[in-house]
């Protein structure tokens, strides 16, 4: 998979859902690993302070570093990063789950939420 892409721009992002398979998992392994390391507060602190340094210490490839630098969460999903792990990294960039999710839709979290908040309610047959 990774060989298909020389540059982050090469990662295709067709519309629709992505199913995270073993193949994705293997392709995105090191990216997933760096995100997974952020489940520890001390690592989050280091990452927040200097993520370039953190990536270098983690031994990411230039391609992978560019993928982080790009903050292109949609490409990361297509590359093979698990959404739960993306969440851990996005948080260290002060982005909420909604922020990076709305990014994949091509919109701002604020707009997505404003549209959805009025819909938050029970939705049983009797409630309608």
């Amino acid at each position: 998979m990774s060989e298909k892409w020389k540059k982050v721009e090469d990662i295709k992002t067709p519309p629709g859902p992505v199913t995270f398979t073993m193949e994705h998992s293997q392709n995105g392994y090191r990216m997933n690993a760096i995100c997974y390391s952020l489940k520890q507060e001390e690592n989050r602190k280091k990452f927040r302070e200097d993520y370039e340094q953190y990536m270098a210490e983690f031994g990411l490839s230039e391609f992978e570093k560019d993928l982080v630098r790009s903050r292109d969460w949609l490409k990361m999903i297509h590359y093979g990063v698990s959404p739960y792990l993306i969440g851990k990294m996005a948080q260290c960039f002060d982005l909420s789950f909604m922020d990076w999710g709305a990014f994949m839709r091509g919109e701002q979290a604020k707009d997505f939420m404003e549209r959805n908040i009025p819909l938050l309610k029970n939705y049983n047959k009797d409630d309608r």
Binding site: P15, S25, A102, R105, L119, Y123
Partner: protein, 277 residues
């Protein structure tokens, strides 16, 4: 002998963590969600439940892809809370029932389920999302966490989880101690987190699914997981875990409670069934 008292299904998600940790019950948007768990809490009290057997999934909080189990059971004396980004949550310690969980692991392995047996497991919102809504703290029950891979495909099929439920039921009823056990399936319902349709929710399907799940679950046993993903979004694959609960129950069930709430990213449902037969 142990007594199977019934089953619970519930969604789990980050919103449930948020709503609890910020104590949003009085916020009118959150009130119906909190209230939808009140009958569950009461039922657990009324039934004098001693142990909840949770069929749930981890969100790469405890397990990593270096070694990712399809089915993993906890047999520990107590469990830690996972750090999902803001430190471990401020919730009571979940205690296990060691002899019972060991017994369940033993029974299920002998019944040809290829379990990974865990003496340590950190629990994330896959269990700890809904639990504070349906149980007071300190927790009045013991926990048995049974973790299912629903993240790295292929995941276990609906039918495999259904069979698991049948075996769990047989095991509970053969346990020599006089305890009350309920089975909980977590996850779902509709949601999609990966790709351009992030935030997709399918509430009509969620209601239809809950009808089928109650009255004719067997009609879905041969469905590929993809069928659920097509209808309810990529992450509704989690629904397979509900089938472990349903497989543990009689063909006809008595519905004690059912609610569907439209969350920001998830069709959030909660169900309580007892055997009708």
């Amino acid at each position: 002998m142990a007594n199977f008292v019934g089953g619970i299904c519930t969604s789990h998600n980050g919103a449930l963590m948020h709503g609890w940790d910020y104590q949003l019950r009085e916020d009118p948007i959150w009130t119906p969600l909190f209230e939808s768990y009140d009958p569950v809490r009461q039922w657990i009290i009324d039934k004098k439940v001693d142990v909840l057997f949770f069929v749930f999934n981890d969100h790469v909080s405890n397990f990593f892809f270096d070694c990712y189990p399809t089915f993993a059971i906890g047999i520990a004396e107590q469990y830690e809370h996972a750090d999902e980004g803001s430190g471990p949550r401020d919730l009571a310690v979940p205690y296990g029932d060691v002899p019972f969980s060991r017994y369940m692991a033993d029974y299920l392995i002998r019944d040809e389920f290829d379990l990974t047996v865990c003496q340590e497991m950190k629990l994330d919102h896959g269990i700890m999302g809904p639990t504070p809504y349906m149980l007071d703290q300190p927790w009045p029950v013991k926990f048995v966490p049974f973790c299912v891979n629903v993240i790295q495909h292929p995941i276990p099929s609906v039918k495999r989880c259904w069979k698991l439920g049948k075996s769990i039921r047989k095991a509970i009823e053969a346990y020599p101690e006089d305890i009350n056990v309920a089975v909980v399936g977590t996850g779902g319902l509709s949601h999609e987190l990966q790709g351009t349709n992030f935030g997709r929710i399918e509430l009509d399907w969620d209601n239809e699914f809950m009808d089928k799940f109650e009255f004719e679950p067997e009609s879905m046993l041969d469905w590929d997981v993809k069928e659920f993903m097509d209808r309810g979004g990529s992450e509704s694959a989690e629904t397979v875990m509900w089938f472990a609960m349903r497989g543990a129950m009689s063909k006809k069930v008595k519905r004690i409670h059912r609610n569907l709430y439209r969350g920001m990213l998830t069709g959030m449902a909660v169900l309580v069934f007892e055997d009708a037969e």
